[in-house]
Symmetry: C2
Subunit: 332 residues, 2 copies
């Protein structure tokens, strides 16, 4: 009897410990979760062949489609379009000029197929001459006054719960976590620390050149009308090197825009892991990959095996998608 | 008797505690040390008006003349000149071209008065088309094979002991420490972690534009023939904003090249401190300021009072200059 009791207690304690130790509760027990946690245990075990010192534990994350939803429109683009609409009062000529005309006429078809150059033109126009403080205020005002068209929630609520857990988990194990996004750096920095625990100095994004100036004794940084870095595709490893100066050992992306970033990580002679979040859950989120205009995932899917990139199925690997209060899509 | 013994013990313990607590042992007890330590105590005391959360404890440091010696020549420039000499084999035309001619003829007078554009031209030529790994190797080879002309020591030994203590002290109190230098970022990153405890991702410096390319399946970052950022004067706050995204609360500089960086810090509404290292110790280091070609300190000295920038006298505030084994100048 005493032995039986002992075992019961032991079981209860074991279960308690197991659950308390689960730092990724929204991840289904499966190959991905098992491999990631085994990897982290291996790289943090001193004197083992896979050990990686804390200073080299760098993890990078795409934002749109990897940390938060990107359907039916990239959120940073919606902000750019709204800025263009607001600024068009002072630019009556825009109604006749491409690509501004597309925005002012809300030509969705054209807007979803903008070339990189056209998007850059809009981005520059939306931010040029802005001082950093005034622009930050515009970002925060916009985010607090706009909601996702289908979920009817503020955009910053549409973050992926399993990814919030990965961010926290990796930081808890000595990682520095970075955003490496094609979205505008200055659109993300004002809120990433609150939402993701990622401070502004760890946000790498598309940015304009800037200048320092002093007016009436007040120093200021002002955006110029020239692109500094298009932090997408080949631009991602460039941004990573410019800001971090060493190769990450973990990376998460979800589209062909992340191909070069994941390839860069895969060339790290240190132990590393690269992941692709696959949007295959039409029920709880959206299902899209090879033929989507938003977050197209084609080339990276073809080469995932070759590079040993791990495919995360949102449908099968994630027990929940959004933080609890958003468990179902509002419009369905 | 018992009371006397008690007091003796008390004294011994007190002295022991005071000395164990002194995180800046190479700084003379004086106004600067007292103010800095009082400032740090104030900003880390929760619920006090001056409290600054850990995430906003950003400290920035110029490198040449602030963390290590810059006389009789800026070390990053010496490296650039040696690269130009090595590359000149493939550029026979350089002997007729300015500013290359100055380097190849070792025209010291011209080299100490190069314009920013001329220096940029040399910097670009010294690094263009280099892959990041190969370039890092060249930096490390150069540093291990060259010595300071007067101290006859490797350059990385000529770091300032009191500043090593400040870096460690601030980190111990929750600060992130950054280098913000006019020197080339890629010349500093390979060794700053070992020497200063500052990882590559916290090194902001002058940099070239870069490109990502894959050759024979090997991804690589290669420097282009175009300046990305001249991280000096007005470039320093621009570099700080691009990399950090918020104003530092502590900064150390030593020359007019740091003016705008210190001005930027002084405009921080949060509690802050800005320091100028004044080279006034001809005996142990060098004495120079207003009329020097290297590390000229003129405008910043004029305005120090107005901005409440604290002047650190190397002669009076520092008990030692270099780490112990370098207590005297070898050539004297």
């Amino acid at each position: 009897m005493r032995i039986l009791l002992f075992f019961s207690w032991f079981l209860i304690i074991e279960i308690g410990v197991a659950s308390a130790n689960d730092e990724l509760p929204s991840w289904r027990r499966g190959a991905i979760k098992q491999d990631l946690t085994a990897f982290v245990r291996a790289i943090e075990t001193p004197n083992q062949s896979l050990f990686v010192p804390v200073s080299e534990r760098i993890a990078v994350f795409d934002n749109d489609g990897t940390l938060w939803a990107e359907q039916p429109h990239y959120v940073p683009s919606l902000f750019v379009y709204d800025r263009i609409r607001a600024l068009s009062k002072d630019h009556p000529e825009w109604i006749h000029e491409l690509p501004f005309k597309y925005v002012l006429e809300s030509d969705q078809k054209k807007l979803t197929t903008l070339s990189s150059d056209e998007y850059t033109q809009l981005l520059i126009a939306s931010q040029e001459n802005e001082s950093i403080d005034a622009f930050e205020q515009k970002v925060m005002d916009w985010l607090s006054s706009h909601r996702h068209p289908e979920f009817n929630q503020p955009y910053i609520e549409l973050v992926y719960q399993p990814m919030l857990e990965v961010l926290r988990y990796l930081r808890h194990h000595g990682f520095k976590t970075y955003i490496v996004s094609g979205g505008a750096r200055d659109f993300m920095r004002p809120w990433t620390e609150t939402v993701y625990g990622i401070p502004p100095e760890q946000v790498i994004g598309t940015s304009l050149r800037e200048t320092y100036e002093v007016k009436d004794g007040q120093p200021n940084i002002r955006s110029l009308s020239e692109l500094d870095l298009m932090n997408n595709k080949q631009g991602k490893p460039v941004g990573i090197h410019a800001h971090i100066g060493r190769k990450p050992i973990i990376g998460f992306g979800n589209s062909d825009g992340d191909y070069e970033m994941l390839q860069w990580i895969s060339s790290n002679p240190k132990p590393h892991r690269a992941y692709i979040i696959h949007h295959d859950d039409a029920e709880r989120e959206w299902a899209y990959d090879r033929v989507s205009f938003i977050g197209q995932l084609n080339r990276a899917l073809d080469d995932a095996n070759r590079f040993n990139w791990h495919i995360v199925s949102m449908k099968n690997d994630w027990l929940s998608i959004f933080p609890k209060h958003l468990s179902s899509r509002a419009h369905r």
